[in-house]
Amino acid sequence: MTAPSDLPQECQAVAEQLPELALGVLPGRERAAALAHLDTCMRCRAEVARLSQAADSVLRATPRIEPPAGFEERVAAEMARRGGKRRATQQRHQVRRRRRVLSLAAAAAVVALAVPLGLSLSESATPPVAQADSGLHSSAALVSDGRVLGHVSTFYSHGHQPAWLSMTLSDAGGTGEVKCQVLVRGGSAVTVGTFWIDDGTGHWDSALPMSPDDVTGARVIAADSSVLATARFG
């Protein structure tokens, strides 16, 4: 094992953080600094790879405990329910996209303007990819009038994958499209996308267009522009 004092000076600053980086628990700013160093240092990348293999193996030691009776059936039923909802949402989006294309095409014909269609018709951010090897950055309850309606979490990601946000509403009431906004340092709110809730329930993941270190909270906006729920990260 190489002692930190034997390392080049630029490696010494991050050497003691590499185990936590491999375990996915290194806090925000230190993590950003460590990753910046890894981009240029093969030695430290190898050390993280070595530690990550061990870190990943720990979860495999998880004991198997039989879940309560009926668990498998409940998971299957929920898959069927969400599968049907997902198909319905996709169909709604397709219809909406077609309508938008038609209306924009009509407008373009009337005013004879060169509309930058690629920009105007782009959908909200591509549904994000679940990065299982990404670590939790922050998590908070989505609250309205003291009632918890769901929760939101932000996650780091490894490599070149962006950070992402995961939002779940379980008791928001109503059915329809809602807007997800993140609150960033300085007080501004940035809309990162829209998602569908059905009978107050919905789940949505999105790539974050900024560092999770800059996100101070999140909120859900209803179709009438009212704030459904707000979360503040500690």
């Binding site: 094992m1 190489t2 003691e16 590499l18 185990p19 936590e20 491999a22 375990l23 996915g24 628990v25 290194l26 806090p27 030695r43 190898a46 790879a49 070595r50 530690l51 293999q53 061990a54 870190a55 990943d56 193996s57 720990v58 979860l59 495999r60 030691a61 998880t62 004991p63 198997r64 405990i65 039989e66 879940p67 309560p68 668990f71 498998e72 409940r74 998971v75 299957a76 929920e78 898959m79 969400r82 990819v129 679940a130 299982a132 090897d133 990404s134 670590g135 939790l136 998590s139 908070a140 309850a141 929760h151 979490s153 996650f155 779940t168």
Partner: protein
């Protein structure tokens, strides 16, 4: 199609393409470990069940984007579960649980099932033995970080040790764990990295 002996990767691919039989088999194969991990972190049966169900639904939802080059299916599934369990733990601000519970619970609780064979094939006995071989204080530090998502600062507070000691325990524990597993074929191929000795 007979799926009961399919690889995890094949089941996941089937799940991604809408094959209900593959989805059912993958859930059956992992439900005990997913619930076991959620319960280990949360120590509350009802919350653990909620987290375990959501974890398996996330696996189903994102099955198409699993990249086998980045690791085993088991690591992916259990990491999703761990992240959700930690999320729930922080949300509820539950009393911290003892990391020794994770290591001391037998590998399987309840009747033996075909899932036990899958766990053996996944190198679970070797990993558990390697974890058990670590000095107690290193094992606690590694489990607190890897399973419960604790930072070195949080570990130093909960274990009442200096921060430097917490960091040293985590690093030493991980390196010993790796040294114990690197030559064990049941845990998969772990190529020796440049600069790594045989120890």
């Amino acid at each position: 199609m007979s799926v009961d002996r399919s690889s995890d990767e094949a089941l996941l691919a089937g799940m991604a393409s809408g094959d209900e039989q593959a989805a059912t088999e993958l859930v059956r194969r992992y439900q005990g470990r997913v619930y076991g991990l959620a319960y280990s972190v949360l120590a509350e049966p009802a919350v653990a069940e909620e987290v375990a169900q959501e974890a398996l639904l996330r696996v189903w939802k994102h099955a198409a984007v699993f990249d086998p080059r980045r690791g085993a299916v088991s690591t992916w599934v259990l990491t999703i579960t761990r992240n959700l369990a930690i999320d729930a733990l922080r949300l509820r601000r539950s009393t911290p649980v003892d990391p020794d519970h994770f290591s001391n619970v037998p590998a399987h609780v309840g009747e033996r099932t075909p899932e036990d064979a899958a766990m053996a094939a996944d190198g679970v006995p070797a990993v558990r033995a390697a974890l058990a071989s670590l000095p107690d204080e290193q094992r606690r530090a590694v489990v607190l970080a890897a399973v419960y998502g604790k930072t070195a600062v949080e570990i130093s507070e909960s274990e009442r040790i200096p921060l430097g000691t917490a960091k040293t325990r985590i690093r030493a524990g991980l390196l010993k764990l790796r040294a114990a597993l690197v030559d064990d074929e049941s845990v998969g191929r772990w190529p020796t990295l440049a600069g790594e000795g045989s120890a």
